[in-house]
Structures are given as structure tokens and as C-alpha cells.
Amino acid sequence: MQGSASIAGGADAAAAGPRRRLRMAPKLAYRNLFHDKISLFVTLIGIVFSVVLLSFQSGIYLGIERTIAAVLDKTKGELWVLPIGTKSVDDPSLLPGREKYTVLSVPGVANVETLSMGFARWRKQNGGATTVLVVGSDWNSGGLKPWNVIDGSVDQLAAPKMVAVDRTYFKDLDVKGLGDPAEINGMTVKVGAVTNKIRSFTTMPYIFTTLGRAQIMLGAQQEQGSYALVSLKPDSDVDIVQERIQAKLPDAEVLKREDFRNRSINYWLFHTAAGSGLIAGTALAIIVGIVIVAQTLYASTKDHLNEFATLRALGASAGYIIQVILLQALFSAIVGYALGMTLTLGIFKLAENTTLNVVMTPGLAALLFATTIGMCMLAAISAIFKVIRIDPAGVFSR
């Protein structure tokens, strides 16, 4: 041991020399967190559960949104003419007819395409039947063209009886691939193209075919469709053209594509039980996460109360101690999120070829990360209240 010479030092010594910020608070937070493995495990279970549940709820929400709006997102027209009272794009009925020519006479309109959509009965080749949603359009003149074609081709659909089906619904439709037969509303059809991941929110498979064939299947007259898709000339004012078309078609409704998209999504999400179920699930995930993290952080803080009191006695500010608690919460959030997101992505991968459309985007992942951190910070409040009320005098034996 060295003598008093090396021990001595004035009270002002610490103030001398260049200054920099030390980094002990993160180290203390990290060590406290990882010191008690069981407590950490419980915390992480809570966060992982929340992250997976939140990811599922929001992934399903995005999936539903994309599924509902898929047909709308694949069309080119700025304006949609639809039957009055249409709630959603996949809740179609038929327009009175000849809207195409009326709309074409409106100044500012460049092109109009008729889209025929309607429910029909699909009779399976080996017996039994199911309801499908037939979509007919003339894609050669700018109408809706089936996308994600993985087998056959769209051109083949021009041949007699041909339809396109999605691979996801092979089992429901009792088909295995190109050439398989079926009947739609009594009309014999054959699979001429196979698409991938064109899912329907209503779970009724989309069947794509030509406009003429769809009109026959759905019992519509020639020139009668469910929707008229209106493309505008460059430099046309969409609001003015919308008003003009509406004035000419009082028995139909004219909406911008974005407005019809929002109406379709809002209908399914907020006028049916689907939306409330998702919202309830999301709220549950956040509540469970907050409660579990709050409990474990509080318990961890109680376990280290004497240390926090010592810190306070050593002169640590309340802010410093709060920083330690918040860093513990932050580290929990980062580790829990990493584990939860890995698990989520694995599950999403497994769901890829099912009818469940769950979507994860970089933006959603970032939002979930921020939510997880916010959740853990919120959970730290009870621990912070505990720790700022510490009496530093407790460090002395009385």
C-alpha cells in the first residue's frame, strides 16, 4: 500500500484538466439487467409476446388493406364510376349501362374501361361448389390485367372458356393447374393462367377473365359493368371532371380512386368486426407488454434499491438514476424487439403460401421498434417513481 502522499489530493483536483463524459450509467444498467437472468427472461418473454402480437396485428392490418385495395391499386383510372350505395370494391352490383359512352363525351376524359365484377358459383370438377368473385376486363385497351402470373399467360385468357385462378385457392377450387376444368354459373371454363398471392379479403377467390365472358357469367348486358374506370387527359382537373361526370350520371356515384380505396378499407375494417378485433388485439398486446415489463423492472429496481440509495448518497442526481432505469428499459426493448421480430419474420415466412396475408415492411418494422421502446419507457414509470422516492439515509445502519 502506498502512503498518504498518494492518497492526498485537494477537493479542487477533480475540477482540473480536460473534461469528457464518462459512460458508467449504461454499463450499470446493462449489468443490472443481465445480472438476474430469470428476471431478464421474464421481461423478454413479455416483450417478445408483445412484439409478435403487435407485428401480427399490424401485419394483418397491412395485409388486409392491401388485399382489399389490390384491384384498385392495379387499375390506371383516376376516377371510378360505381353503382350508388357501393360499400366496397368487392361488394359489387351492376351499373345501369352505357356509362362508358356518356363519360367519354365529358371534356377532359381520355379513356373509359368497363370492369365487370360479381359473385358466381364455381362448380368443382369432382363435385361440390363454392362462391367466387368473377372479374372481367379488357386489359388490351387499358382495363384491369391479372398480375403475378406464374403459369400460363394472360394472352391465353382470350381463348374460349379460359380463366385465371390464383394458386392460393387451388384446394378451394379443386384444381391443380393449367387446363383443369370447372363450371361458373353453368358455363364451362378452363384454367388458362395461374396467378400467385392475389388473395381476397372475403376469402372468395378472384377469377379473372375477359369482359365479355364475365358479362355472360354474371348475366349482364353488353356494355353493362360494375364499374367504369375513367382515365383523364393530361392537365385535366380531376375535381372538375368528377363534377361533370357526376352531373351527367345522377344514378351513379363518381369517386376518385383514392376515395374509393379508403371507402373499401374503412368498410371492411371499421364497419365489420374485423377492425375492432384488430384494434382490440393491438391494445391487448401493448397492455400485456407494459404490464409485464413494468412488473419486472419494478422488481429489479426493488432488488437494487440499496444500490440506488448508495448512488443517491454518492451525490447522483435524480436524473442520473432515472437515466439508469430508462437505459435498463431501453436495453430490454432492444433485445426483446430483436428476438420478437426474428420470431415474427419466421412465422410470416411460414404464412407466405397460405390465404393469410400478413405483411411486414421496413416502415412497419421501424414503427414497431419505436412502439416497443415507447412501451418499455412507459413501463419504467413505476420503477422511476419508486427510485426517486429513495431516502439516501437508508444506506446507514441506524
Binding site: 500500500m1 502506498q2 502512503g3 498518504s4 502522499a5 498518494s6 492518497i7 492526498a8 489530493g9 485537494g10 477537493a11 479542487d12 483536483a13 477533480a14 482540473a16 484538466g17 480536460p18 473534461r19 469528457r20 463524459r21 464518462l22 459512460r23 458508467m24 450509467a25 454499463k27 450499470l28 449489468r31 443490472n32 445480472h35 440499496n306 444500490e307 448508495t310 448512488l311 443517491r312 448518497a313 454518492l314 451525490g315 447522483a316 442526481s317 435524480a318 442520473y320 439516501p392 439515509a393 444506506v395 446507514f396 445502519s397 441506524r398
Partner: protein, 257 residues
């Protein structure tokens, strides 16, 4: 820097407590633990605060360390009157002027010896760039340079208390307050720790006060204050007073047995 004790005029006290009263509870449950304590701590002195259990030693120590507020009276540390300071200002005073050594060490079990000392520097906010070196020096000065990366669980009681002293020293406090620093130690480690405390007190810019029941360590004292029933009963400097020295030697010998 070494500042030796002045042989001339009496140095100014670093800490002055004047008429300290502490009351716990209210109404029928009211207990007056301190009943008007007058005390000053001089730099370069090791003062022992002794007294029976319940006499108010620890309460006084807590007040002198700015972690408990007195009910009445004035406390001045490093020319700062504490009476109307906020809790954060009191914390600021502690981290800049007071070092603590606790009976049960109060080390952070998840941090190494070096990290424990660095933590005491870290709570001070912005510190010199040589803070890690400063922490190493503090551990070196208490003879633990070979144990800097050891966790408290692997240290002996004496070593733990040395780390605690190094932690208190690292911030270069004006006042060092120790609560029964030898109570959990065997005789050899206790003597060693007290020798260290005595060395620490030789700094002419620092005053050291130890609360103790341990008569074996009386020989290290420059000054012995006895407190009984909330008031100071005796305040002696054995090295200057033959009667007090004889009394101390007798008690010290009794303690050794």
C-alpha cells in the same frame, strides 16, 4: 499534492454544525434524537464519533453528510449553508464535497472494483479525461492495484472496504464520513483500514469523521467526540491532552481484549 498540517494558527473548519436538532415523528410518537449538537470538523484531522446505541451517532452522520435534513440548526460545508438547499442542491454538495464509507461497503456487485470507483466519478457529470487513471490511482493508493478488475463477491471484507475508501477518495472530497468502517472486519483488517483512514486524514484540505463502537481503533484518532442521548458529552484531542490520552489508551487496551 500534499498539504501538511499547519503548525501555526488553527485552520478554518471545513464543516460547521451549529445547534443541530433532529426530531423524528409527530405528536405522541415524536422522538428528539439530536438535542442541539455543536460541532466543527477541521482539515487534517481524523475524528472518531463514539457513543452508545441510540445516542444519535448515525443520525448526526446522515445530517453532516447532507442526506438527512436537520429539524433545527445550521450546517455549513465548504462555506455553503445547507439549510435552504433543494434536494438536488444537497446532492450536488455531496458529490462535490462529501465522501462516504459505509459499514457494509455498499459496493455495486455487478461492477468491478475499478468500475465501482469510476461510478463515483461518473455521477459527478463531466469529469477529467483522465478519470479512469484517477480511479486506478485511487485503488493503487489503497493497495488494490492488483484487484481492479475483480468483482466485490471475490474480494475479502478488508478489500471491499478499501475499494469503498478508494471510491470516496476518487472524488477528492473535503469531508469524508465513515459509518462503522471496521465493524464488519476482523482485527487485522480493521487496523489496516483505520491506518488507511488515518493516512487519508493527513491531507490538510480534508476532514475525516468516523462513527465507531470499536475501541481497538482509538489510537488512530486525532480527536474523539462522545455523544450521549443526543448531545455531545465530551470532545477531546488525546494527542494534546495527557488525561484524555491516558483514558484513550486504557479504553484501547480494553478493546484489544
Amino acid at each position: 499534492m500534499i498539504q501538511s498540517k499547519s503548525d501555526g494558527a488553527k485552520p478554518s473548519p471545513i464543516l460547521v454544525a451549529d445547534g443541530i436538532v433532529k426530531v423524528f415523528g409527530t405528536g405522541a410518537g415524536e422522538v428528539q434524537v439530536l438535542k442541539g449538537v455543536h460541532l466543527d470538523l477541521l482539515p487534517g484531522e481524523l475524528t472518531l464519533l463514539m457513543g452508545p446505541s441510540g445516542s444519535g451517532k448515525t443520525t448526526l452522520l446522515s445530517i453532516l453528510g447532507c442526506i438527512l435534513r436537520q429539524t433545527e440548526g445550521d450546517l455549513v460545508i465548504a462555506n455553503t449553508k445547507t439549510n435552504k438547499l433543494s434536494a438536488e442542491a444537497m446532492a450536488d454538495l455531496r458529490r462535490n464535497h462529501v465522501g462516504f464509507v459505509f459499514q457494509s461497503y455498499n459496493l455495486f456487485p455487478t461492477l468491478t472494483a475499478l468500475e465501482n470507483v469510476m461510478l463515483a466519478l461518473d455521477v459527478r457529470g463531466r469529469m477529467p479525461a483522465d478519470a479512469p487513471q484517477r480511479a486506478k490511482n485511487a485503488l493503487d493508493s489503497v493497495g488494490l492495484s492488483h484487484r481492479i478488475n475483480t468483482y466485490p463477491a471475490k474480494l475479502s471484507g478488508g478489500e471491499k472496504q478499501r475499494v469503498a475508501i478508494a471510491r470516496a477518495l476518487a472524488g477528492s472530497p473535503s469531508v469524508m464520513l465513515a459509518d462503522e468502517p471496521t465493524a464488519a472486519l476482523d482485527s487485522e483488517n480493521g487496523q489496516s483500514v483505520m491506518q488507511l483512514m488515518s493516512d487519508v486524514s493527513k491531507d490538510a484540505s480534508r476532514a475525516v469523521l468516523c462513527v465507531t463502537h470499536d475501541h481497538r481503533i482509538l489510537k488512530y484518532a486525532d480527536r474523539i467526540i462522545r455523544i450521549e442521548d443526543g448531545v455531545i458529552s465530551t470532545d477531546e484531542r488525546p494527542k494534546d491532552d495527557p488525561v484524555a490520552r491516558a483514558n484513550m489508551e486504557r479504553l484501547s487496551a480494553e478493546g484489544a481484549h
